[in-house]
Symmetry: C2
Subunit: 428 residues, 2 copies
């Protein structure tokens, strides 16, 4: 489809460019300072969890079954916290470790363990030549940073609305023993908001890796982060693994970072019996025990999976208008122009915007100039390298609705002006 | 000095053995189940910090300067928490990271970073042949476990009341580039309760390591854990380093695990500017940010170093009678027998008991049989290998005074019986 600018005559395009430059100047003159870059909850959302701080007092009996929350031990986490995490993940609590406040840190620790010491008795990745990781892209930059930090080669794999390109995943995983893992955000993927189809999950569960120490890093970051009562349904990967018998293929992670307090939630990991034994043996050397008072407070506040879902409906009430505003502003501003597409997530934290080839860096730079900080163009690609320079991650959660509306107006203006400039320069 | 059993005639020794066996049988018949193994605070101590749980409520303004405690960011920790930690350590807050609840975890992460990625741009230890670590012994088993976990060779170094044998430390560190670090608990050492002398600290600060990536892991675990108002004084290692100019030689660690809640305290690390830049660059890849709500509560509860010291006097009031009971029971039971010595710490968590050569495993086994669990014999030595089989760590903090008294009676009986048996078997 030709864009509106492509279909203009040179004179029309010149006039349009003049109008857009003037509109941009008017925005620039406002001296805005807005931020649409950060995937963090808004103050309205963190306020939802502040009542958690009322639940523990000096009078509270902190025993959790036989575990004294206020003292050492329980290296796998508080029994009640493991039960809650297990219920959320749909797995057995005996296969869950709740530890720390950062699931990214758990993911890192398992990459580092595999790299330096080896998974389940296999040779450490660092002694097997150059390890490779598959990176559905665009994806979560901090995932890619972890593997890049260890010199592991990040290989982009195209994303589709059903998940990663599974033909490519199968080909690479099943033929190349240097391919040691893949980063997945299977529900409301960062940054698209896509949820992997049942078929994708089943194909993951049926993988026959060339490497015995290949693992799927299944970061279920947005497992309960629905915007609507009818959320996307993700097939439980461990149910699928039970059918294929590939139990050891997956490490699954999640946290309450965006349920309660970002940075101060509970992080958890689950895996097969064999993997958990391997993880436990490693963690036994590197930690005394997790922070359990926060776990106790979380369970007192959230109770169980139903409690989490009820709490997440309050988050949804805050977030839904923001995502709907993104959809409305982009539709109204760009819907008929044939220059851009974007995703329409029903959960998660982001919208992926896809502009004309070669436009993303220029759009982000212009938006910055007009007073709006976006996630850096390319940041969602391994090594920051978006091959089409067209993807921009929109993070609508943190700003107020009013700020978000203004930021989106700036963004739409920047998209149009950059697109028109690109068309003009292609004719020059 | 000959022991009392050595000075007995065969008949006297036989009669004494009979008396001791009968005493042991009487204890065995009691069916006790006591524990003197674990270096953890008693319930009376953790109760001291429960008022911390009253300080944060849903009404609390959680902003810490410009940092929103309840959201992401502040990767080095909450500014107020860094200030508190810096005051305790006697360093600049800009050189402090407060992260997580386990200082052991911070130590591990820096060993792992050095092993897999390399310190300050040096080759990773894993690519430099077999790394070695010096282990003042007996020492803290979890330290030795971290390095052993990475296949690093743990080399015992004798401990003296002034600290490690510095002649040996200097010789090994300054001549062998494979020696990459040393584990130190410089104040109230685990398990002796020794505090390094000023001369020892100065000799550490003056080390000229053969390896550019040698680091002293200075675990100041008991920095404020005095039993008496007049505590041991430890020279500030960074003051000593300022004099020698070897700023990059040391990572220093501490935590509030045994100030507030074991497992749920604040852990911190400090080092030179160059080291902190290296640590920060690593942590940036592996963590989003630390748990800051717990940090906020800690600062609200402890305020500053003076607040910490006032709080620690309450701990001391709980612990002093326990340590004094150990001293009294051992003196009364074993003081005149010439079979054993023990340390007389003025702080920390342990007393080191030193029995006859070849007795420790037998004493611990017999105590177990009589109903008292001790720290495993040898556990305080690298690879569990106490060359004289004579060291036993006594952990008097957790049991009630009454239980502790009974446990010490059992222990004394076990020491005497094993010593008498050893003498008898040496004559057989």
């Amino acid at each position: 489809m030709a864009s509106i600018y492509q279909s203009m005559s040179d004179a029309e395009l010149a006039a349009e460019l003049e109008r857009l430059e003037a509109a941009a100047q008017a925005l620039r003159d406002k001296g805005l300072k807005l931020d649409m870059a950060r995937g963090k909850p808004s103050p309205e959302q963190t306020a939802l969890s502040k009542p958690m701080l009322d639940l523990l007092t000096s009078e509270t009996d902190l025993s959790d079954g036989t575990v004294l929350t206020e003292n050492y031990f329980a290296p796998d986490g508080l029994p009640s916290a493991r039960k809650l995490a297990a219920e959320l993940l749909g797995v057995d609590a005996k296969n869950v470790i709740v530890n720390g406040s950062s699931s990214l840190n758990l993911m890192h620790d398992l990459v580092a363990h595999a790299f330096a010491l080896g998974i389940c008795g296999n040779e450490p990745w660092c002694r097997q030549g150059r390890a490779k990781f598959l990176c559905p892209a665009p994806g979560y930059d901090r995932h890619f940073t972890v593997t890049a930090h260890y010199g592991i080669e990040n290989i982009p794999v195209p994303m589709t609305p059903d998940g990663p390109d599974m033909d490519m995943v199968e080909r690479l995983v099943e033929t190349d023993p240097q391919v040691k893992g893949i980063w997945c955000v299977p529900k409301y993927s960062n940054p698209q908001g896509y949820t992997y189809s049942d078929e994708t999950v089943r194909r993951f569960a049926a993988l026959k890796p060339a490497a015995p120490d290949f693992r799927i890093f299944w970061d279920n970051a947005y497992i309960v982060h629905d915007l609507y009562d009818e959320g996307d349904e993700l097939l439980n990967i461990f149910d699928a693994l039970a059918e294929t018998g590939n139990d050891d293929l997956v490490y699954e992670f999640a946290s309450t970072a965006k349920v309660t307090f970002p940075g101060s939630g509970m992080a958890f990991v689950t895996a097969s019996d064999a993997n958990m034994a391997d993880i436990r043996a490693h963690f036994a050397a590197v930690r005394v025990c997790p922070e359990k008072i926060s776990q106790f407070a979380h369970v007192a506040f959230l109770h169980d999976a139903a409690g989490v879902r009820a709490h997440m409906r309050k988050h949804a009430a805050v977030l839904r208008p923001r995502f709907e505003l993104v959809e409305r502003k982009l539709s109204e501003g760009l819907g008929d122009l044939g220059i851009a597409t974007w995703t329409h997530p029903r959960g998660g934290y982001f919208v992926l915007f896809n502009g004309p080839e070669g436009s993303a860096k220029a759009i982000v730079a212009l938006a910055k100039e007009l007073g709006v900080t976006m996630t850096g163009a390319g940041a969602t690609w391994p090594y920051g390298n978006d091959p089409h320079d067209s993807d921009i991650r929109i993070a609508p959660t943190f700003p107020t609705l009013d700020d978000l509306g203004q930021a989106l107006d700036v963004f739409v203006c920047a998209v149009k002006l950059v697109s028109a400039r690109l068309e003009a320069s292609s004719r020059a």
